[in-house]
């Protein structure tokens, strides 16, 4: 997989010739990203789910953590199954809700994982992503 460095304070779009594609376990791309924030439709649904569930209220607008932990860091450690477990059962003592009754979250769990994994991998460089041009 091609990786590239993102300057911290680039003032404009980052020119990247090739979209970055992360490969999930079963050889289907987990997410595809171009120029740091143009993503495939599936990953975009993940972003919309993140937003609708107001995850930023605890994890911060850039997933870097506030009351809740940094997901940039957490997703480097958590397996997909562990991620799913936290979402579906919550960590109530720590203030993480159980999302099993939220249809949008349940239906888009994989997409949410793809989006957050892309953020954690440093391939998706902006929290606010856009859909790729077809």
């Amino acid at each position: 997989m091609k990786r590239y460095l993102v300057p911290l304070f680039a003032m404009g779009a980052i020119a990247a010739a090739v979209p970055a594609t992360a490969i999930s376990g079963d050889d289907k791309p987990l997410y595809t990203v171009k120029d740091g924030y143009f993503v495939d439709d599936h990953t975009y649904e993940g972003f919309k789910t993140w937003r609708a569930a107001a995850c930023d209220r605890c994890h911060g607008p850039n997933q870097e953590g506030m009351v809740g932990p940094s997901l940039i860091e957490s997703l480097k450690v958590l397996s997909y199954d562990q991620f799913k477990d936290v979402i579906m059962n919550g960590r109530l003592q720590k203030g993480m809700p159980n999302w099993s009754t939220n249809k949008q979250v349940v239906d888009n769990l994989d997409a949410l994982y793809a989006y957050l994994k892309g953020r954690s991998d440093g391939e998706i460089t902006k929290a606010r992503v856009r859909k790729m041009e077809k």
């Binding site: 993102v6 300057p7 911290l8 304070f9 680039a10 003032m11 980052i14 740091g36 937003r51 609708a52 569930a53 107001a54 930023d56 209220r57 911060g60 607008p61 850039n62 870097e64 953590g65 506030m66 009351v67 919550g90 109530l92 003592q93 720590k94 203030g95 993480m96 809700p97 159980n98 009754t101 939220n102 249809k103 460089t125 902006k126 929290a127 606010r128």
Partner: protein, 600 residues
Amino acid sequence: MNLGLKQKLAVSIACLCASGLASADAALDKAMADPGNWAQQAGDNYNQRYSELKQITDKNVDKLQVAWTFSTGVLRGHEGSPLVIGDMMYIHSAFPNNVFAVDLNTQEIVWKHMPKQDTAVIAQMCCDTVNRGLAYGDGKIFLQRADSVLEALDAKTGKVVWSAVNGDPKLGAVNTNSPHVFGDKVITGISGGEWGVRGYISAYDIKTGKMAWRAYSTGPDAEMLMDPDKTMAWADGKLAPVGKDSSLKTWQGDQWKTGGGTTWGWYSYDKDLNLLYYGTGNPSTWNPSQRPGDNKWSMTIFARDLNTGMAKWAYQMTPHDEWDYDGINEMILADIKVKGKDTKALVHFDRNGFAYTMDRVSGALLVAEKYDPAVNWATHVDMKTGRPQVVSKYSTAQNGPDVNTKGVCPAALGSKDQQPAAFHPKTGLFYVPTNHVCMDYEPYEVSYNAGQPFVGATLAMYPAPESHGGMGNFIAWDAGTGKIVWSNPEQFSVWSGALTTAGDVVFYGTLEGYLKAVRLSDGKELWKFKTPSGIIGNVFTYEHKGKQYVGVYSGIGGWAGIGMAAGLEKDSDGLGAVGGYRDLQKFTNLGGSLTVFAIP
């Protein structure tokens, strides 16, 4: 000083409770009359946060030292303050809302109350698990738990005397506010504007816990306790009856049912007028395009009759909110000169960046001016209509959903959030902890699901650009003319309630954890001390055995404290503010404690 009186008071309370003849009002009034006590969260019913105590003065405050400290054993944000009645201090914590009664003679814990609350509530709380403190009256201590249960505890034993369920936390109806004892009622509000909760304020009988009345912020007149002919509102330069369905007419269809207008601030009470004053919060959702209309009566100052709950007058500050400028901040009652005329005033520093001076008897709008020069979303308030004149560039409704409206000042947390200001009768001025923060705001479409977040906007916040670089100011304000008298820049928002004293000192805390004393006349810093954690609590003072003490909770949290990341994208247009609250982590860490100071 009033040692004898305080001791006598403690005894008399005990006797009154035993005989069961106490009027709550009398017991609390008596407690409040002795400046040695701190018997209400604001020290009084007027929200003035002014103390007659004057052992500590602007001449000797630099000698203040720590007298004693107390750990609440709870992390996360600690707002409000302890209460002091006679020889006892009542201390509370953030969730799970533990309460400790401490004997001031020995600093010994006389009783503890540890409520068992469902941890699911933590996730339903919007901005940290804060609790703004206890109330006292009728020999009881009142705790408004996070899970909406209002508890009355026996002040001597901590035993639960009665409890009332005030909302349904499963729907996001939780509580962060302090209950307030006014007359024979315990007044409490509700939180959950980000869950689409339809706001209300409730009055419970102090003796039995039976609900006396409940007034909704939105919906039909009868449920809002509004009289179409007698409830007045400011319109066309004068007061006029609100008319029939004044709320329903300003919402589309059933949207008022999930319309917000929650009531999580500080309330005040004028005994002579028998009026209760409070403000309502943001309309739900944060996406204005989804709720056309003025969304009444969100964002409103209400005056209500304490006995019946009927609204005497209402004034909506931010019709059709597009920025989350909750109107819940405290209503401070003070008799001051307004434009040269003696006035029974109500002064309110709104999140929207305007400070309002109202005639608290009639509800007439007298002054509305910006109390932070950075405020840009509106040019001014039209004094005839009472409506803010919105600047199109900063209108998230006009720019529409999925458009990021940039550079709006103030940010959603307002030029001031709930952190209460103080008044000083000698100067007639108000001393205000403020935020100096701006934001980018991008609304988006959301759908309501009961018990799930219902927000509908993404925000990024940063220090006000082209200013001193910090995120706060502490100011002195003339509410009679609408002008800043002096202003101290602060690195972070000032998220602590202020205290003024007859010793001509003003106290406030900072997010890095300093308790500061500044001179009344010009704000000159006289003393500071770094407490164990950032301060979002309110400074209070009391006297015990002839000595004056000043105390404050530390324990970082709340919207400011947990927003340790400013939310700016590292690769965005770098407003020179990357870091924002993130820098706070260099200065402070979590942990709730009380620090009490005295002059040795």
